[in-house]
Assembly symmetry: C2
Homo-oligomer: 323 residues x 2
């Protein structure tokens, strides 16, 4: 990360009216006016539109819709989540990179972002379509003291954080399809993949992957996905700033994660239920052991889905595809 | 692995009386008498004591107490477990190597063995003392379709398989201290470490590590371990063949694993209870959330330890150190 660039963006953020004189920048960065000019040029090269107005100074008129380190870290309102951030223009999969970083000991809250994934993955190694410049493809390293059996709760928690963030930034209200899909108008806009490495009775680390279709248009999706997937832009006829959305997710996630670690799953469960489009509906659950049909009547206190067959038999659903 | 060497050892194993003529060997291996002589020399270099008797042929009079690939695979009575075998004279940790192999896609049943570990690990990254030539330091890759919450059951299953194998080979009957230690005369002779990589609702792979103190004498242990640890040799004043013990563990494990996958945890639970030295006793359980004292009254059907305080309150113990 270019730290001068990041400091400069922070200065712009904090400046009243958004103007900074060359003199102010030179003083704050401790560099020459020529160096200031070079930094401004470098921001322009990154896609920032910067006005220079006589007697007022420089102002950022428009920002690129990027997710580079300094796009994320500048103005990020968290203590931990995302403060240690790795950005890749192209990655095979942010999950894979996050696993490698976690194995090397990178701390809780470490974030991996890519502008594009070449082999993005969803649950059960299904491919996740991750084209360049339009979505959020991110993975977060966590190191909670939990049992492996508790990790599905963090998938549900992440779904709530992502739904809240999307609501805040776009005004759209996604619904959550159990366990980990965010839907708008019955089409998928967000997927969540939670992976863990653990001893049998203790999590060593978790990687939570979040994929959000943000600014794709319909034609960006392969034909076979067009009936199933949507983007935030397609749902509201408007482009959205990706970095802002990542920041909002990290902020919401951090808050819910602290709540969860202090108070347990119950408050998360209530929030999840408020976004759920699964509860109360007749569903079909394809599990490892066969297919069951019935009504999704609720979550247990542990976060397991309870399905009731028409004859009254109740089943706990730990893992399934539902429809 | 030298496959000719392995074939030759198998021929000796299957030969009535244990004798093979140079002619027989040459025919079976499809090589010259000179090549036969070289193979015999190579076995002698590995520590095999081979008699050559006129008119009868060669006979293995004594075997080295090794755990090389062909020591394990020759005569191994399993379909899957250990048939794909990696041996290292020295390894940092067989668990670490097994993780790497699993990530590269090595199949279920793949076994990693080392004659010595430089940084052997037990639960919670505690060091595991693994000196050269005297113990069994092994890790097994499994790929069952299980929930992460079910993996502690496989730790219990492995403890039973190891106890059965030790009983069969040595005549000693170890007791199991919940969840994963095998004890003889209240000292630890075997530790088991189960690690997993998973999605939140599906195991991707498991690595089961088993460490057995086989042929150490008291002075082989560091002073601080002498009061806590024992070896099979120390318990019976006799050395034991390590490869035979590994083979017996793999055979017992495979049988129990098939039983478990077909019939669930109940039969494993009954076997585990028959070896347990924890049930019925007053214990102290140090968990993540504090220390509880009470009587270990049983396992749940899922394999979770149930502890009853003196006031009758029951606690499920998922993860703890007990004493």
């Amino acid at each position: 990360m270019n730290s001068n660039k990041q400091i400069l963006l922070s200065l712009f953020n904090e400046s009243p009216g958004g103007y900074l004189s060359g003199q102010q920048i030179a003083e704050q960065l401790g560099c020459s006016r020529t160096a200031v000019w070079k930094q401004i040029q470098s921001l322009r090269d990154d896609g920032y539109e910067i006005e220079a107005i006589r007697n007022k100074g420089y102002r950022i008129a428009d920002r690129p819709n990027g997710v580079k380190e300094y796009d994320i870290i500048t103005g990020l309102e968290t203590n931990c989540m995302g403060q240690n951030c790795y950005y890749f223009e192209t990655a095979a999969s942010t999950q894979k990179i996050a696993h490698e970083l976690a194995q090397k000991g990178e701390p809780e809250g470490t974030l991996v972002l890519a502008d594009q994934q070449q082999s993005g993955r969803g649950r059960m190694d299904r491919p996740w379509f991750s084209p360049k410049g339009t979505g959020i493809w991110m993975s977060l390293i966590l190191r909670p003291r939990l049992l492996p059996s508790q990790t599905p709760q963090l998938t549900l928690l992440t779904a709530v954080a992502a739904a809240q963030a999307i609501e805040e930034v776009t005004g759209l209200t996604p619904s959550i399809k159990w366990p980990n899909d965010l839907m708008i108008n019955d089409k998928k806009c967000t997927g969540i993949l939670t992976e863990l490495q653990a001893e049998s009775d203790q999590v060593r680390y978790l990687i939570i992957g979040i994929g959000i279709n943000v600014n794709q248009v319909k034609e960006d999706f392969p034909a076979e996905l067009q009936a199933l997937a949507t983007s935030l832009r397609m749902s509201k006829q408007q482009e959205f700033p990706r970095a802002k959305l990542v920041q909002e997710i990290l902020k919401r996630f951090e808050k819910l994660y602290e709540l969860y670690l202090n108070q347990g799953f119950l408050p998360i469960k209530l929030l999840w239920e408020s976004y759920s489009n699964t509860l109360g509906k007749m569903i079909q659950a394809k599990t490892m052991h066969g297919t069951i049909e019935g009504k999704a009547i609720g979550l247990t206190d542990e976060g397991v889905l309870v399905l009731e067959e028409s004859n009254g038999t109740q089943h706990k659903i730990y893992s399934a595809d539902i429809s």
